[in-house]
Amino acid sequence: MKLFGEKAVRRILMVTAFSALSGLLLIALFILNEGLPFIFKYGIKEFLFSSDWYPHLGKFGIYPMIVASLWVTLGAMIVGAPLGVFGAIFLSEYTPRPVMKIIKPTIELLAAIPSVVYGFIGVMVLAPIIRANFGGPGLSLLAASIILGIMILPTVISISIDSILAVPQSYREGSYALGATTWQTTHMVTIKASKSGIIASIILGLGRAIGETMAVIMVAGNSVNIPNTPLDSVRTLTANIALEMSYATGMHRQALFATGVVLLIVIIILNSLASVAIRKRMVKR
């Protein structure tokens, strides 16, 4: 009786252990099932590299969205990565521990602010500033990059601090003993030792930026347009799905699922890169 119970428990646990995996597979299955046939029917090249997105005319090229997603993500990195990494270095190497221990959770707390709130701030505060000072519609690549850059700050800072703190104190002491200043120690020893952790934090931030939807819809302006300047309005892959999903039928809807497929592939590649970077860090330790 008891032994049977033990076996049953093991079996139940094993089944539940596959829940996350089956969730992932189910998602992949349904998205692929809706999107892949379209991609093959319409043509991979035409779908990925044509700039014509006219659903009512049966034209579904997502090149502008791919370009926009990349630009927006890159923009978010330019804004968020230095700010985040510098902040993490300052907090872990130049700030008294007790102060850091208050500031770090505060920053992590900000990761919990709903993305729609960030988007709203973008529309109400940032877009008018851009419109007034630089011209253009305000709702733009620039606005989206800044808002996303801010949104990824907590992720980048938090993980970077963790990996910087994981550098053994003896490394730093060794450097100080040779007469290095704090900054010399930081950039020659600490940053080098925690490089893969910092890179992982940036990649994870990248993942968040490329996957963000609502905030981007609110601030990017959503033109199907390859931007010439940061002041141009753009539409990302995520925005394309969310904007048109509720109105789409037939081919149009399949094309949106196909957009999801592209997004999914990009994310999984990024994720694998991040986990390689993280594993590298673990091995080093």
């Binding site: 428990v9 539940t16 252990a17 996350a20 969730g23 300052f90 900000l110 709203f120 799905i241 991040a274």
Partner: protein
């Protein structure tokens, strides 16, 4: 030309400190901006009265209900699944190919954008399973979304339980499940609860996945198969469509306070957990 180390040191401090300050200022500005405009609107009456005219006036009571029930469904489903998964991974198997695949799957799931969850929930729960836009479809979608968080935090909490406790329990003739039930889960509980709280926070703030699966009906839901609107969705609609700036700020303030409260209590729990350990 070589710059003297003293100057690079000073320059570094200025730049790094400036970046930190800028980050903090931006992030605090966002909260202050919303609270300053939203708090005057936010009151007992605002929370407990029904919206009128699509939310142009009146309160946000139905969205409050949606905001409570939707994450509740999600954690009721995801918590046992997530905790059992982490128990299996940490107590019942050694590192094998299967556990590696499970872990990779969990990591991938964690990285999937919420809009994809929305698409999936819409096509699977809403259409294929015929649930319609409903609390159930939204809750299930959120459950899949938060599962990786719960698995990760539970696994960390379980691994933090000293190995010696397991040895003692086994040496006293406990089976694996008895050890899990009597020693491991009770000791990992605060960590697990922290993960659940963080997941609740994420569910409350989620918009993209919810709007496609739970719909946006402003009525008070009377069953799990009713559509409902959460505060995030309500805020999104109010703000986007310019229905009422005043009520949008009020809803945003309520939203931020709810999310901060949930996360603060998670941190509080985690700190208690850590201090008890050491």
């Amino acid at each position: 030309m070589r710059i003297h180390p003293r100057y690079t040191q000073r320059g570094a401090v200025v730049i790094l400190g400036g970046a930190t300050l800028l980050t903090l200022v931006i992030l605090i500005f966002i909260i202050v901006f919303i609270l300053e405009k939203g708090l005057p609107v936010l009151g007992w009456n605002f929370l407990t009265s029904n919206p009128e005219d699509m939310g142009r006036s009146g309160g946000i009571f139905p969205t409050l209900i949606g905001t409570i029930i939707l994450p509740l469904i999600a954690i009721i489903i995801a918590t046992p699944l997530g905790v059992f998964t982490s128990v299996y991974l940490s107590e019942y198997t050694k590192e094998t190919r299967a556990t590696k695949i499970i872990r990779f799957g969990t990591d991938c799931l964690a990285g999937i954008p919420s809009i994809i969850f929305g698409l999936f929930g819409y096509i699977f729960f809403v259409i294929t399973l015929g649930m319609g836009w409903s609390l159930l479809a939204g809750g299930l979608t959120l459950a899949v979304m938060i599962l990786p968080t719960i698995i990760r935090t539970s696994e960390e909490a379980i691994r933090a339980v000293p190995k010696s406790y397991r040895e003692v329990s086994f040496s006293l003739g406990a089976s694996s499940w008895q050890t899990v039930k009597k020693v491991i889960l009770p000791n990992a509980l605060p960590g697990i609860v922290t993960g659940v709280m963080l997941s609740i926070g994420r569910s409350i703030g989620e918009t993209a996945a919810v709007i496609f699966t739970a719909g946006s009906s402003l009525r008070i839901p009377t069953s799990l198969l009713d559509s409902a609107r959460t505060m995030s969705v309500h805020f999104y609609i109010l703000a986007r469509e310019g229905i009422s700036a005043e009520n949008a700020y009020g809803t945003a303030a309520a939203l931020i306070i709810a999310v901060l409260l949930v996360n603060l209590s998670a941190y509080w729990l985690m700190n208690r957990f850590i201090s008890k350990r050491s």
